[in-house]
C-alpha cells in the first residue's frame, strides 16, 4: 500500500509546488517591470543615467594635455599612441599625434589615473559600433598643437579655464586613487551645516 500512498503524495507535492511557483509568477503581473525598451523608447538616454565613475569610451581634451606620456606608458595593451616632439625653434612641446585605438582598449581606467590635468578621461558613451577597424582609431590631433603648460595659480585663459575645471573636478571625484570620497562628502556637509546652523537640512 505504501507504494500507492507515495505515488499519491508525490503527485500532491508536484501539483502544489507548481501552483506555488505559478502564483509567484502571476504576482509579477502586478509589479513594476524592471526591463526598459532600449534604445528608442526611453525617456532619458542611457548615457545620461550612468554613474560618474562609468568607464566608457576614452576622450582627450587636447587643450589641457601636457604631453607627459604618463597614460601611454601605463596602458597595458599600448592602445595609446602619442607623438610629442620639442619644436627646435620655439623650444615648445608640440603634439603631432594622439591616437587611441578603442578597438584594442579594454576600459581598465589605468590611463586616466596618472593624468595631471584630467585631460584623458572616460565618458559615459558606449555605443561605438562601426564598419571598419580603422574608423575605431580615434585621432585627436588634427593639426599639431602646443602642449598645455600648467600655471601656478588659477588658469586665466577664458577658453581653457572651464575645460581645466572639468578635468580637475574629474580627478577630484574619480581618478585620484584612494581619495576618501565618503569622508569628504561628510566633511563638506558638516562645513555647510556649521556655516548655516539655523537652516533645516
Amino acid at each position: 500500500m505504501s507504494g500507492v500512498s507515495d505515488y499519491v503524495q508525490n503527485i500532491k507535492e508536484t501539483v502544489s509546488t507548481i501552483f506555488e511557483g505559478m502564483a509567484i509568477t502571476a504576482s509579477h503581473f502586478m509589479r513594476k517591470p524592471y526591463t526598459v525598451q532600449y534604445p528608442d523608447r526611453m525617456a532619458v538616454r542611457v548615457q545620461d543615467t550612468l554613474p560618474f565613475r562609468y568607464r566608457g569610451i576614452l576622450e582627450v581634451d587636447l587643450e589641457i594635455c601636457t604631453g607627459c606620456l604618463a597614460c601611454e606608458r601605463l596602458c597595458p595593451i599600448d592602445c595609446i599612441t602619442i607623438v610629442a616632439d620639442k619644436d627646435p625653434v620655439t623650444k615648445q612641446l608640440l603634439l603631432s599625434q594622439f591616437d587611441i585605438d578603442i578597438a584594442k582598449c579594454m576600459y581598465c581606467g589605468l590611463c586616466s589615473e596618472p593624468c595631471p590635468t584630467g585631460s584623458i578621461h572616460h565618458t559615459t558613451e558606449f555605443e561605438g559600433a562601426d564598419y571598419s577597424l580603422e574608423s575605431l582609431i580615434r585621432r585627436f590631433v588634427k593639426d599639431p598643437v602646443i602642449a598645455y603648460k600648467p600655471k601656478k595659480g588659477p588658469e586665466t585663459d577664458q577658453r581653457i579655464a572651464p575645460i581645466l575645471n572639468r578635468g580637475m573636478a574629474y580627478l577630484d571625484q574619480w581618478a585620484i586613487p584612494g581619495s576618501d570620497a565618503e569622508a569628504k562628502a561628510a566633511a563638506d556637509k558638516a562645513a555647510a551645516e556649521t556655516a548655516a546652523p539655523g537652516e533645516p537640512s
Partner: protein
C-alpha cells in the same frame, strides 16, 4: 528471447553547446540515453594569461586578472593584489580591506545568482533565470557606481582599492540587501522546493567526502559533500575574522549527501551568509585612506608567495615568483573549476545524457577559469 543488441555511440557535445556554460567540449560515449562516460576536453578558452603577467608588470596585470574568472572578478583582483602585497611587504589600510570585502561579497552574491539561475535554465525552467538575472543586474548597478564597470571591474590595486565608496552608496546597498532577502525566499519557493526540480537533482552525481578531497574539489562543491572547509574561516585573510557568519554544508536533506541538490542548496544558503557579512561590513567600516602608498614602478624583492582566497568557486590560489625586477618571473593561478572538471569523467558513468547538463551546472564550472 534474445536480448536486444545495443551499440556504443560516440557523441560530441560542445564546444559551442549552449548548456555547457562557455566553451567546453565533452566526448560522450553513450549507449542510447545512458552514458558510459563523458570525457571533458579543456583548453578552448586558453589565453595565456599567466604568461601575459610576465610581460605587462605588476600594476598592468590587474585588468587582466578580471579575465581569469569574469563572473567573480573581484576575487581574482583580490588574489593578485594580496599576492603582490605579500611580496612587497605592503600593509593595506583597514578601510581598504573593508572595501575589498564589501565588493567581493557583492560579487559572490552576483556569481551565485547567476549559478542558481542557469541551473534552472539547464533543466528547462526559463522563468527563475530571469528572476535571478534581475537581481544580479541590481548588484551590477551598485558595483557600476562603485567602480565604473559591470563585469571586468579592475577595482582593486596593489595596496588597497582604487576608489572609495561613493557618497550615499552604503544606504543604497543596505536598501538593496533589505530587498534581496525576501526575494531569496521567494526564489526558493519558485524553484528550489519545486518537486520536479528536486527530482531532477536529488541522487544525481553523488560525491562522497573522501572522493571530493581526493579529487581536490574546493568551495561549494566540497562543502556540498559535508566537508566544512572555507578559507574565510579556516585560513582567515583580509578582515574576515571581524565578521560573524556560518559556513553552510550539505546535509543530504533532499536525497543523498553530496548530490547535485546539496551543492545547489549550499550556494543558496551561502548567499544568505554573504548578506550577513555585508550588513556587518557596511555598518562597521572605519574611516581613513583606502590605498597604501605604492610606487608606480613597483619592484618587490626577490622571492615567492602563495595566496589563497575563497572565491565564489572555492579556493583560488595565486602563486607569484619575483626576481626583483618590475615584472613577475612566474605567475600561476589555481582555480576551482579546473579541479571540478576532473571529477566529471568519473561521475558521468551510468548517468543519462540530460543529467550531464545538470551535473556541469551543479559543479558551477566557468570556462575561462578552467583554462586561463
Amino acid at each position: 528471447m534474445s536480448t536486444l543488441r545495443t551499440e556504443e555511440m560516440t557523441l560530441n557535445m560542445g564546444p559551442q553547446h549552449p548548456s555547457t556554460h562557455g566553451v567546453l567540449r565533452f566526448v560522450v560515449r553513450a549507449d542510447g540515453e545512458v552514458m558510459r562516460e563523458a570525457i571533458p576536453d579543456v583548453g578552448y578558452l586558453h589565453r595565456s594569461i599567466e604568461k601575459i603577467a610576465e610581460k605587462v608588470g605588476y600594476h598592468g596585470f590587474m585588468p587582466y586578472t578580471d579575465r581569469v574568472d569574469y563572473v567573480c572578478a573581484m576575487f581574482t583582483n583580490q588574489g593578485w593584489g594580496s599576492a603582490c602585497e605579500r611580496l612587497g611587504n605592503i600593509e593595506v589600510p583597514k578601510r581598504g580591506e573593508y572595501c575589498r570585502v564589501i565588493a567581493a561579497e557583492f560579487n559572490r552574491l552576483a556569481s551565485h545568482l547567476l549559478s542558481i539561475g542557469t541551473m534552472g535554465m539547464d533543466i528547462g525552467a526559463m522563468t527563475p533565470f530571469t528572476h535571478a538575472i534581475r537581481e544580479r543586474e541590481m548588484i551590477n548597478d551598485l558595483i557600476e557606481e562603485l567602480c565604473g564597470a559591470r563585469l571586468t571591474f579592475n577595482y582593486m590595486r596593489i595596496g588597497g582599492v582604487a576608489w572609495d565608496l561613493p557618497p550615499g552608496w552604503r544606504e543604497k546597498s543596505n536598501a538593496y540587501l533589505d530587498h534581496l532577502e525576501p526575494i531569496l525566499d521567494e526564489f526558493n519557493n519558485l524553484l528550489s522546493y519545486n518537486k520536479i526540480y528536486v527530482e531532477r537533482l536529488a541522487n544525481i552525481g553523488i560525491i562522497t567526502a573522501k572522493e571530493a578531497i581526493d579529487y581536490n574539489l574546493v568551495g561549494p562543491n566540497l562543502r556540498g559533500c559535508g566537508v566544512k572547509w572555507d578559507i574565510r574561516k579556516d585560513i582567515p585573510y583580509s578582515v574576515y575574522p571581524d565578521f560573524d557568519f556560518d559556513v553552510p554544508v550539505g546535509n543530504g536533506h533532499w536525497g543523498t549527501l553530496g548530490d547535485s541538490m546539496d551543492r545547489y542548496m549550499v550556494r543558496v544558503f551561502e548567499m544568505k551568509e554573504s548578506v550577513k557579512i555585508l550588513r556587518q561590513a557596511l555598518a562597521k567600516i572605519p574611516s581613513g585612506p583606502v590605498l597604501a602608498k605604492v610606487p608606480r614602478n613597483f619592484k618587490p624583492p626577490a622571492g615567492e608567495c602563495q595566496i589563497r582566497v575563497e572565491s565564489a568557486r572555492g579556493d583560488m590560489g595565486w602563486y607569484v615568483v619575483s626576481d626583483g625586477t618590475g615584472y613577475p618571473w612566474r605567475v600561476h593561478v589555481r582555480t576551482g573549476s579546473f579541479a571540478a572538471m576532473g571529477i566529471i569523467q568519473k561521475l558521468s558513468q551510468g548517468l543519462m545524457i540530460a543529467d550531464l547538463v545538470t551535473l556541469i551546472a551543479s559543479l558551477d564550472v566557468i570556462a575561462p577559469e578552467i583554462d586561463r
